[in-house]
Each structure stands twice: as C-alpha cells, then as structure tokens.
C-alpha cells in the first residue's frame, strides 16, 4: 500500500510551531494553550498509526450473461489489523450499471476490526453487450485521526461476456445454394426429401413408394413424385465494424452485433453451419461450424467486436479467399459508410457469392449540423446511399435498409422478398 500524509498534518504542526514561538516572544501562555492540542493530536496520531493489513478478493457469479441480466460481484474482505475507515471502490465499466448509476463506480466506507471478515455483494446490471473485466478495485484506508492514508489499486478482475438479447426470428434468409449434408433448408435441387417438387414418368430404379398414384391413374403409365431434399447451408455473417454511428437509443454497431447474434442462433438451430467475418479495424473470421460450440465460439468473437482504429488493414478491399466457403450465403450487416466495406461487398458479388445486405441505417444517428444547409445535405446523403443500394441491387444483391425501431424479422422478410426477384451476378462480372 502507498502511504500518504494528510494535508492537515502540515497545517497543524505549522500553526502549533508559530503559536509556540508567539508565546515565547510575547511571554504569555495563551498561544501555547490554544495551539498545543493541534501539536499533541499530530504526535499522538502518528505514534498510534499502523499500516493496515487487509486481504481483498473479488469474484463474479458468472462469466456469461445477456443484456438486461444482473450479475453479482462478491467482494470479500479480511482484516488482519483493525482499520478505522476503509474506502472500497469497485470500478464499473461503461456498458454496465452499478448501484450508483451507469458506469459510475460503486464505493463504500466501512470499519473493520482485527480479524473481521466481510463479504459485500455488489449487483451490476448489464446494459450493453461486450466483453468485460469486472473486479477492478481501489482501496483507501485511514487511521483513527485521519492523519495518514494508505492506498492500493487491486486487480481482481474476472471476465464477463454479455451477449445481446436474442430476437425471435420465425423465418430467415434462404440461400440460393445448399450444401451436400442433410439439414433443414429446402434445396432447389431434386432428390429424396419431404417437400414436393414435381412429377415425372417412372424410370427404372425409382422406388415404388414415390409413385404418384393419382397421376399414374390419369395417364395410364407410372409417374413418380419428385421432391426437394433438405440440406444444410453455410451462412457467413459479415459484420462491418469500421464505423459506428451512435444514436440516442442504439448505435449501428450495437444493432449489427445484436442482429448477427440472433441470426447465428437461428441458423444454428436449423442445423446450418454459421461462420463470421468481422470486417473492421482488424479483420477476424471464423470458419463455418455447427452446434452449440460453434454458437459460443461465434458469440465470444462477436462480443469482442469494436471500432478499432489501426493502419494495419487500412488498404483492405477484399476478403481473403479462404475465409468464405463456396456456395455460402453471406449476410452482411453494415452501415455502408466505410469505402473499404463497400468495396469488399462489391468484390464478393463479383466473386459470385450469394449476398444479402442489411444496411444498418446511420441516418437517424447522425447528428444534425448547424446552419441552414443541414436538410439539403441530409437529402443529398440519402440520395447517395440510395444510389449505392441501387448499384448493389443491379448486381443481384438484396439490400434492405434497417432503421432503428424496426424488428429484425421485418427486415429479413423484406430481404427475402427482394431476393425472389434478384439474380446472382455472373462470376467475374463487372463490380462497379
């Protein structure tokens, strides 16, 4: 612990010295009688002061939570010596809310006897998704006469990952292409499956159970049913974290990450494989995987997404080829603000990927500029964005603007509706 003297020591000792000298010079006892208590208090206090010895430990009751959940940080104290006043301060990071308010540290002053043990539970509410370290403590102890202060920062931090609240999604964006493994997506190909596709004349090798008896009776020769097989698909969630536009309620990155988490959970429940590309200050990706382990891996990676300014990837315009499996559906969640992300999406279209773009609109979050040009500037900006969307649509991508307050499901339905009329761009086609 670092020991620090109180300012009053110098004031008390100084006043006492001056008073003693004055008493000496004037030959009167009054100055001495008035100032002697100050000197005695300093001497007695310093003589009685002892370095405090306190053991402190902090634990968090869980390591994963959902936005809105409450987590408890247990701070355990054990005093080996008596402490007259011990200030304990627990840092509350931005995104968490403590008893004192959002991102305000929680602090208490308590008195400990020698050998006393105390456990202090501090309840924090998770207000924003992200990866946190909880348990940063600051101790400040005082002696009985408040002449000395001992301070010590303690790092007892434990990790906590706060996931966004998953949104209920009934229907998802369906891919144009499916993979070979059996899954829940109805393939556009024909084969063994449940979903009826068409009827055709019987061929040697067809199973008798697939004969369509009504068509056979009508035509006089055996006809069989054709069906769409159920297959898995590879979905890659492309999260653009180059720019984050913060509005009053949420930011574009908050919406994008929340949507990515909801989409990942929904696709994985359908036994699809889901991957992730975090395209921002630094590029990170996860190869598509399936199951609960993939979900946790993906969420863990998502929670570390943040706007990260670096020059390491400043020229990036393309995703490395190995990050994306063939025939994958790419769902891009982007505010379409940074030209690198815009160019990368054009590049994906040019490479023939099945791309759906959810444009997380930054329009509402952008702050109004001063002056009379603001409405005109906003209209021009909106027109530019409309033009950009149109360029993507001409190349076969579905682009839907997602404004705050609209449920993700509604956006996905719009994406699906616009994809019905869209075609894939030819491989190697002009991108811009």
């Amino acid at each position: 612990m670092t020991r620090r003297p109180a300012r009053k020591i110098a004031a008390y000792a100084g006043v006492a010295a001056v008073a003693l000298l004055a008493g000496l010079a004037l030959g009167r006892p009054e100055p001495v009688a008035a100032a002697a208590p100050l000197a005695v208090l300093v001497v007695a206090g310093l003589a009685a002061a002892r370095d405090p010895q306190v053991e402190v430990d902090a634990t968090v009751d869980r390591d994963r939570a959902i936005v809105g959940d409450q987590v408890t940080v247990q701070v355990r104290l054990r005093a080996h010596t008596a402490v007259d006043r011990l200030e304990l301060l627990l840092a509350v990071p931005p995104g968490m809310e403590g008893p004192a308010g959002p991102a305000r540290p929680w602090a208490v002053a308590l008195r400990l006897r020698a050998g006393e043990e105390r456990t202090l539970p501090v309840t924090l509410t998770c207000r924003r998704w992200g990866a946190y370290l909880l348990g940063g403590l600051q101790l400040r102890a005082h002696d009985r006469l408040r002449l000395l202060t001992w301070e010590q920062p303690l790092d007892r931090r434990a990790p906590l990952k706060v996931f966004p609240e998953p949104q209920a999604l009934r229907s998802l964006v369906r891919p144009f292409e499916t993979q070979a493994a059996t899954g829940s997506q109805v393939s556009r190909h024909r084969g063994e499956g449940i979903e009826f596709a068409d009827v055709r004349p019987f061929l040697p090798g067809d199973r008798p159970r697939s004969i369509n008896w009504r068509a056979t009776a009508r035509r006089g020769v055996p006809w069989v049913n054709e069906r769409h097989p159920e297959r898995t698909t590879d979905v890659v969630l492309f999260v653009d974290s180059f720019v984050d536009v913060r509005g009053e309620r949420a930011s574009t990155l908050d919406l994008a990450v929340g949507a990515a988490a909801s989409l990942a959970g929904a696709y994985l429940r359908q036994r699809d494989r889901v991957g992730l590309v975090g395209f921002g200050g630094f590029v990170q990706w996860l190869r598509p995987g399936s199951g609960q382990a993939a979900l946790y891996r993906l969420l863990d990676t998502l929670m570390e997404t943040q706007v990260f300014a670096t020059v390491a990837w400043k020229g990036i315009r393309h995703l490395p080829p190995r990050t994306l499996p063939p025939k994958a559906l790419i769902v891009a969640l982007t505010p379409l603000l940074d030209e690198r992300a815009v160019a990368a999406l054009f590049d994906l279209l040019a490479r023939g990927y099945d791309l759906a773009i959810v444009e997380v609109s930054p329009m509402a979050g952008a702050q109004a500029a001063a002056g009379g040009w603001e409405p005109l500037a906003r209209r021009l900006w909106a027109l530019e964005r409309e033009t950009l969307r149109h360029r993507y649509q001409r190349l076969g991508a579905a682009v839907v603007e997602w404004t705050q307050g609209v449920h993700l499901q509604q956006v996905l339905l719009e994406v699906e509706a616009s994809r019905r009329h869209a075609r894939l761009a030819p491989v190697g086609g002009a991108a811009r």
Partner: protein, 175 residues
C-alpha cells in the same frame, strides 16, 4: 451528500463563533480592526471547508490571532477562556478536514460515522483538558522568567523538529 453539507455547515458555524467571539471583548478602533480580521478568518475558513484545503493553515492562524488580540490588549491576568478557543480551533480544523476527505460517491456505513464522531468528541474534550493544563502549568510558581524561557525555547525547538520529522516520515512511500 447530506452528511457532507452538514459537516461543512458545522465547520463554518464553529469558525464563525471563533471569529466573532473576540469582538465582544474589545471596544473602540481595535474592534473595527478585529472585525476585519474576523471577516478574513471567516472567509479563509469557509474556503478551506469548501474547496481549498491548503487554506486550512492560514485560516487557523488568522482565527488564532483573533483569539489572542483581546488577552494581549487587556494584559495582566491569563485569559481563562483560552482552552475553549483551543478546543474550538481543533473542532473547526477536524470538521474542515472531515468535509475535505468526504466524497459524495462514497457511502459511509453508520459505524464509521459513529466512530468518527466519538473521536472528534474525545479530541475536543482532550483539547480542553490540555489547554487548561497548560494554563495551570503557566501559573505554577517556581522558576523565574529565565526557566520559562528555556522551557519555551525547548518546546518550540521540539515542535519545529516535529514538523521536520513529520514532513520526512510521512512522505508518500509504499509501506
């Protein structure tokens, strides 16, 4: 927050009593001079309580000077009220320090406040007793002016040595 305000107000109230009490004991042109001194002391005391902890020393000096004017002007007998003034000075200084060390964000548990009040009360009682003892010792026969001068010089030297020692010993350091 309420405790902090109460603490500040109590400190200023004690300082006001200390600053204004000597005015009742003097008359004439000295009274107006003492009034200026009292006003300066009160301002310094309020400043030390609210924002500037470094004003605590000057505030104590000015308040102490105000207390000493009347006995010095009157001369003769020792002022028996001096221990009260000493206890008042200590009370003000402790309340001002308490107000400075309190942070609105930190919630004091009741035992901490109770213990602090107990220490404060004991300090004031001790200051009264000590002041009275000093006055009594000054009134004791024995030793002439030279002896007392020697005792005073030794005491002043020890106090200055204490100041130096305290300044060195309490410097910020890891313990």
């Amino acid at each position: 927050m309420t405790g902090l305000v109460v603490c500040r107000l109590a400190a200023v109230a004690v300082a006001a009593v200390l600053a204004l009490a000597p005015l009742a004991q003097v008359h004439g042109p000295l009274r107006s001079a003492l009034a200026y001194l009292a006003a300066a002391g009160l301002l310094l005391a309020a400043g030390a309580v609210w924002r500037l902890a470094s004003l605590l020393g000057p505030a104590l000096l000015v308040l102490l000077a105000g207390q000493l004017v009347a006995p010095l002007v009157r001369g003769g007998r020792v002022d028996a009220a001096t221990p009260l003034a000493g206890a008042g000075l200590l009370l003000y200084a402790e309340l001002a320090s308490w107000a400075q060390e309190r942070r609105p964000a930190v919630r004091d548990e009741p035992p901490v406040t109770r213990a602090r009040l107990a220490v404060l009360a004991a300090s004031v009682v001790g200051a009264l007793a000590l002041g009275a003892a000093v006055l009594l010792a000054a009134g004791l026969p024995g030793g002439g002016g030279l002896t007392r001068l020697a005792v005073g010089v030794v005491a002043a030297t020890l106090t200055l040595a204490l100041v130096a020692a305290v300044a060195r010993r309490t410097a910020t350091r890891p313990s």
